[in-house]
Every structure is written in C-alpha cells, then in structure tokens.
Symmetry: C2
Subunit: 360 residues, 2 copies
C-alpha cells in the first residue's frame, strides 16, 4: 500500500495532509506546553484559545451575522433531528419537511415524536434521485419552519438554490457546509456533523439565530437546550476537544487556500470533470437527475451489479478507496468533499475510462 491513497469515503472522510501532520505533532506535545493536545484541560488558556479561534474562523469563512450563535455539540446530526423540534416546536406545533432522502426521513420521524411534521414533498418514489423545485411544494401557513437537507449524501443530490419561504429555514448541511458560498440570513438554524467537510467525527456545528434560544419548553433537559450551550460558549460541559481542535486546523487550511469562494470553484470543477466522464459513455449512468446533481457525492451505476463490484475491487487495488455506493441504492459513489484533491478526480477518471474500455 502506498503511503497515501485516494479516499472517497462519504464520511468520516479524507482530510488535508497538512492538518493530519499538525495533529500528529500536537497530540504529543501541544505548542511546547509539555502536555499533549488531548491532555489539556478544556478550561486551560491553551484550549480556550483553540475553541475561540475555531469559532472565529467559522464565522469569518461563512460570514455568519452577529445575531447568530455558533455551537460545537456532540451526538451527530441524528441528535439534532430531535433537538430541533424539542427546542423550536414542542407539542401541538408543526413544521414543514422536504423528504429528499434517508436523513430527511430520520429527521421527520423525530419531529413526529415531539410535534408534527408536515411533509410537503417526497422524492422517495423516484429513489430520491432529485430534490424539489420551488413550485413543487407549498409550506403550511402554521408551520414554524421549513426543514430541508441541502445535500443528500447517499443519493448524490443537492439543492442548487435553497428553498424560498416566508418561514425561516432549518437545514441539515452535514455534507456540504463550507463547500459553497451561502447567505445565512434566511436560516433560523443550520447544523452539520463535522466528519465530511470540517474534520473528524465527534462534533456537530449548530448555527442558530439568537432569538430562537428562548423558545424551549421547560420540560426539555438541560443538555438538550440550545441556550445551555449558547450561554456557556459550548463549554457547559467538557466539549469534544480533539474534534474542535481539528476543525480549527481544517478551517485554517481552507482560509489559506482562499476561503469558501475559492473552494467552491474547485468543487465545481472537480464535480464537472467527473460528471462529464460519466455522461461521455453509456457504460456509466448518473443516479441523480441533472438539475439535482451534487458537487460532493457523485453517484452512478454500471451496466450490472457484477461490473459495479468489479470496479470497486479493481479501484481499491489501484489506490482508490471508498467507492462502493450506499446499500440502499447500490452502484458507485465518489465523495469528493473540500479536502479531496483534484488530482484524485483526474486519476479516477483515467481509471474509469480504462475500466469501461476493458469491460464495456
């Protein structure tokens, strides 16, 4: 095995090499303190500085307005599926959800445990191969928010334009946060697990408009209240220090290469190259409809499941890992988040063309 392979894993996913190199040093002796990074008290000056810098970088890179809080929580996106209705709805209230895949469905299930989810659109009958257009659904007038998943990791679909609504938007951006420029203002809440575009597993970023912090019913336990964490700068209890630190390194890397505007250009080009290769031949067939195609997760099929298996195996031998599609739709999936290098896409295309020639 070479020292480094191309890792197309959907998450946890590839990270910049320089981030790993820095973490490797700091874990032994952080900044010459004589203590390893994960041995630092979360109340120490060193770690507080890391946490503050990480938040400041995220605010800068995403241009987050001052009336939004940025939280670093635990429990993954799956915990947010429950915390959002626990905090923003409560019994007897309603919110509108767009069902564009597995993760949207899971969020709908939790909303229905706590309150009522009005499912205004579903692409399930089409194997979730697209996201809706604005004209395809309407939002119930009594809904508190409109919930959607900006990028559907499993199916390889993505909203090109975000929904427009009089209601505030609530969005699961786990798989495309920081991959393109966005306007935060229409959102009441954005959340994202770190392990795709931001860092390792173990931290979830929540960006919440501060007027929403006081809505939570008294029956909600302390740890599940956004206000608990907002009031304490995500230090109500011991935070996931290593994940926050690594997010900080990834954000520094992103800033250095030019920020979100620059990575968006690179992401657009990487995805365009791969879709072009898929469209060039009948051997490959994209799963997502063209106007819903994701820049992050490129899903496609081959003429048979046997050929798909062979491609996964041959690719691994050639140094391309993690290309097997999710079991729910099969086929192939190339996850090419921010940190996935352009050269890896170019090399994969060469490999795919060669494979098509041999097996087509």
């Amino acid at each position: 095995m070479p020292e480094r392979i191309y890792n197309f894993s959907p998450g946890p996913a590839t990270l910049p090499r320089e981030v790993l190199a820095q973490a490797s040093e700091d874990i032994i002796n952080y900044n010459n303190t004589g203590m390893g990074l994960v041995e630092l008290s979360h109340r120490s000056g060193e770690f507080m500085a890391i946490a503050e810098e990480t938040e400041a970088l995220l605010r800068e890179l995403l241009n987050i307005p001052a009336n939004y809080k940025v939280l670093f929580l635990q429990g993954g996106a799956s915990t947010q599926f429950a915390m959002i209705p626990m905090n923003l709805l409560g019994a007897g209230k309603k919110a509108t959800y767009l069902n564009t895949g597995t993760w949207a469905k899971k969020a709908i299930k939790e909303a229905n445990i706590i309150a009522e989810a009005d499912v205004a659109y579903s692409s399930e009958a089409d194997s979730f191969n697209h996201v809706p257009d604005q004209a395809d659904y309407s939002v119930a007038p009594e809904s508190e928010y409109l919930y959607f998943v900006s990028n559907n990791t499993i199916y390889g679909t993505q909203f090109k334009q975000f929904p427009q609504s009089e209601k505030m938007l609530v969005c699961d951006m786990s798989s495309d946060i920081l991959s393109r420029e966005i306007d935060i203002k229409p959102f009441g809440l954005i959340f994202a697990g770190a392990q795709k575009n931001m860092g390792p597993a173990g931290a979830t970023v929540v960006i919440i408009r501060d007027d929403l912090l006081d809505r939570t019913p008294d029956s909600v336990p302390t740890m599940f209240r956004y206000k608990t964490h907002a009031d304490k700068g995500s230090m109500f209890n011991t935070p996931p220090c290593f994940a926050i630190y690594t997010i900080g390194l990834v954000l520094k890397w992103l800033k250095k290469i030019g920020g979100v505007a620059e990575i968006e250009k690179i992401n657009r080009e990487k995805a365009a190259l791969l879709y072009k290769a898929i469209d060039k031949t009948d051997f490959f067939k994209g799963h997502a409809r063209e106007n819903s195609r994701s820049m992050m997760n490129i899903t496609f099929n081959l003429p048979s499941p046997e050929l798909e298996s062979r491609l996964v195996t041959d690719a691994l031998d050639a140094g391309f890992s993690g290309l097997k599609g999710h079991r729910s739709i099969g086929g192939l999936r190339a996850s090419i988040y921010n940190a996935f290098p352009r050269q890896g896409v170019v090399d994969l295309i060469d490999f795919m063309e060669e494979f098509a020639k041999k097996n087509g």
Copy 2:
C-alpha cells in the same frame, strides 16, 4: 518548558506517553492503509475491528457479565443525567439520589425535570467533605434505583464501599472507573466520561443491564434511547471514532501493566504517599474526611489563599501543572488518575515539603 511535565489536570487529564506516541503515528497513516485514523469510515473493516477490540478489552478488564451491554456514546456524563431518568423512570416514577457534590446535584436536577428524585442524603452543609455511610440514609421503597457518584472529582471524596441496597445501583463512575476492582452485578447502569481514566474527551461509556433496555417510554427520541445504541453496537450513527480508538489504546496499556488489580495497588500507594505528606504537617490540611478520601483527586488547603496561589504558581514553574482547586472550594487539588506516574507524586511531595519549609 521540558518536553513533558507532570499534569495534575482533573480531566481531560494525562494519558500514557506510549498511547500518545501510537496515536501520533496512526493519525497520519493507520496500520499502513494509506489513510489516517480519523479518515477511516466508521463502517470500514479497520474501524469496526478497533471498536470491537475496545469493547472486548473493557469487558475483560472490568469483568463485565454477558447480560450487560457496553455502549460508547457522546454528550458526556451531563447527557447521562437526563438519559437515565428518560429511559429508566418516566413521569410519575421515583429514584433515590445521594447528593455528594456538584455532579450529583446536576443529576438530581435532571431527574426532577423528568420524574422525581428522592434525595436521601446530602453532605452539602459540610462542603461535600464526605460521602455517607450505609446507616446514614434509607432508600424509598418505591424507588426504581439508587443513584450515586462513586468519586467526587471536585471535593476529593470517594465511596470506599459501594452502597448496599435491594434496589439496583446506578452510578456515575466518570472519575474512578478502571481505578479499582468492582463487582458489576449490583448495578443496573454505570456510566463514565472517558476524559479522566480512559482517554480523551468526546466519548462516554455506558454499561447497562440488558433487561433495562425495554423500559423506555415511546415519547423518548431515538438518539436518547439506550436500546437504539445497544441494538447497533454503538454504530447507530457515526460514533466518536478518535475517542473510541484512544480508549482502546489506554485499555491495552492497562492490560499490559497488569489490569485493574495491579493499577489499584499503584493507585492506593500513590494516594497514600500524598495523604501522608499532607498529614505530616499542619501546613497542609486535607479537605475530605479521612474515611471518604479519594484515591483519584487529593484536595487540600494551605494556611491562606495567598499561599495557595503561590504554591500553584511556583509548582507550575517547577513543572507541575493543574494543581489549582475547583473554584467552588478553592485550595489545591492533585488529580492522580491511572495514567499519572508514581514518580510525579514523589516529586510533588518533595516540592510541597520544600515549599512548606520556606513558607511555613
């Protein structure tokens, strides 16, 4: 600053040097896969093997019976304060709590949000300087469980013998798990944040008797149900991979040095040395009553707050970090968990004796 100092932090805390060295390598390229540890998919063969080995080691070291599940969760002990009553009580039910410090109080608060906490004992009026004897309290007959904190990090107290009760025990062992041999069978549930005796922040271990998994009311969201995680081997969603991996390394280290029986001997000796130094002179005064003294967190005072501050500062200059006591009781605290080396205790005692001579 020397390459390595003695870190008395109460958590996140010092870890074995060889654990950090291994993590430092694996984070760049795990086991020659060409991928860094935190880049591995949690569904990969490599990470599944790590998770399985970590659970197996914990079961072996703590001699956990087969009818208990071991879960690796997120959200810290503070999340358990709510999850326990959410899963084991529900509205209208009651459990007995022993109030022996800040963390017990927080657990009581959450229990009262969800059900009813019967507080059978409190040492608050004595600055939490002791834990109760068996004769000091009784458990309400209608209680579902008896909840206690085995070691109180802030106050430096510890149960020498666990409570005896007809009711099942539920215990926060965050700050002394794996530090001494225990019998799991009287417990319905044990939980512990990793960041003191097991690894870095970001994972919480829950050991739960499997007949308790089916008690949870339907109104509890999916992520807050123990059964969700038990049914999926803690892989319902992306787990805190780095923390689980590092716990695995710490457990391997513990097994290598002789397991829990051996570390208990070492812990007893380290604590005895330090208490002996404290008792030798009137200059130092232990906070905890003698029969409640903790082996993990040794709390003590000096004749004045000024002298206490000076000791913290001078100690830092001499390479002893993290000795400042918690703000709620002031004074000094030396946290000497499993991974804290005996030599560090010996050196601290020399330093303390010198300091007492100069300032006494």
